[in-house]
Symmetry: C2
Subunit: 315 residues, 2 copies
Amino acid sequence: MTKKKGFCGVIAPVLTPFGEDGSPDTERFVAHCRWLIDEGCTALAPFGTTSEGNSLGLDERMELLEALIDDGIKPDRLMPGTGACALSDAVVLTRHAVDLGCGGVLMLPPFYYKAPSEEGLMRFFADMIEGVGDERLRVYLYHIPPVAQVGFPLALIGRLIERFPNTVVGLKDSSGDWSNTAAILEAHPGFEVFPGSELFLLQGLRKGAAGCISATCNVSAAAIRGVYDNWTRPDADALQAKITALRKAVQAFPMIPTLKALLAHYRDDPGWARVRPPFVALSEAEAQEAVRTLAEGHGLRLAFAQNGRSAALAG
Amino acid sequence: MTKKKGFCGVIAPVLTPFGEDGSPDTERFVAHCRWLIDEGCTALAPFGTTSEGNSLGLDERMELLEALIDDGIKPDRLMPGTGACALSDAVVLTRHAVDLGCGGVLMLPPFYYKAPSEEGLMRFFADMIEGVGDERLRVYLYHIPPVAQVGFPLALIGRLIERFPNTVVGLKDSSGDWSNTAAILEAHPGFEVFPGSELFLLQGLRKGAAGCISATCNVSAAAIRGVYDNWTRPDADALQAKITALRKAVQAFPMIPTLKALLAHYRDDPGWARVRPPFVALSEAEAQEAVRTLAEGHGLRLAFAQNGRSAALAG
């Protein structure tokens, strides 16, 4: 693994399990995070889009984060999502993460008002960073225009890096647009850029990306880690082709309910399939179809030891 | 004024003033709400889009609402915005409003995830209503696709009314699409529909709308109320033409910063101009241009008595 100051490698935006009453299930959450690390995730990004992070209340996010750290997961491997529409909420969540020693935070722009000015977004981040007022803070910008609609144009990224060079240190690019990722990498060498999908992992690494932060790491971290660890070897393209094919097969299904259905199936734990509205869980038939398609077509099978951790490492 | 069970008339989505430190300014807020009622607003909708409602934290919204009621504003005239991306937050805000006796709540759909299924939105509202679990709850759906992106299709409105006939009682239509407003009015007689702009006030009233909920009520409630009170009179079209012209002139400027600049100018209180990022206040020159254009072209001048209330009524 390349030595870097900040984050690098294969980062999972962790799925959030819910209990029967709809509240976050801390026990299942911690076990899943442990398993992801055993499977090869170099770090975890709870409360992202895949985590239904914006469907969680502030207290819920903070309690889950504390549970991970109480369980012994090192906070420098955690990059929680702390973005919010309200500056005051973003400050509360970010300060909490910094106080717990988290290695960084993944921050959405305020996403309610559309087409904000560059200056308005600049002020939001400046006020947030100054409001937290802690030199330990490391911000990773979360660029996901297909969902948030509001994103980080290249000029804004440049202004943020220039004004806060020791704080604004990276970006997750979930635009799905490789030319955008490439433009950021070219403009800002050393900036820690993570494509938001393993589809761009190998070409990203070849251009200086730090790794990837991808929803599918929740079910296929080991294979994605294989590309990360071997990207300079001759068979790297063949490894990438396999994770590309699997990713495309997964994303043909509704992403979040499908990932949860896979965990429910392989853990033999139907409760894992629960989602918060506005999502709807897959039907039994849809879940079976997803399991079968991904197992038969791509060999996707998840294995868990009795303690819920990785069978491979625990065995 | 037509007698109706719920809300009707001219409702202001109240602007939220901020202090020097960026926190909501309760004193200015209460004084503004008092003035709006004196000017002719039949009710107030704090924490809407114009209020920068989603730029406020949960505690901030709840404290401002309590301050209004503590000051003696009748809660049955209040329709606070209680929507949130997280169901748990929506339940907390809504229960708080119901416990305070608010006449209704104006609820956005969860707006982070785009293109949610009808079933997913149905479940969000069902879980919210059942989570609050109070028969006093009256929900007004907040349809504002230009901003929230997620809206209420006609079929979903029908399902919500059918399942919760005593709870889901109305809708604010800020689509800007009169044909949508007309379709809702035709499909659901008795449902309290408020166009989100006074541009559609007169044609709305003629088709059974309950009034309007409009940003510009923050500066021109009296004229809008004039149309509401006189809509069956022969000069109604001439009155409507005046408020239409003013509205079009206001919306040629950036709406929220401009409304705040107008209040700052006429109250001689520069602090009123403050906005939260991602908004940016008008420059001095832009503010002067807005004041001049609206005063010279449309006779817009705001008058306040020394106590901050309506000069006309206080004098």
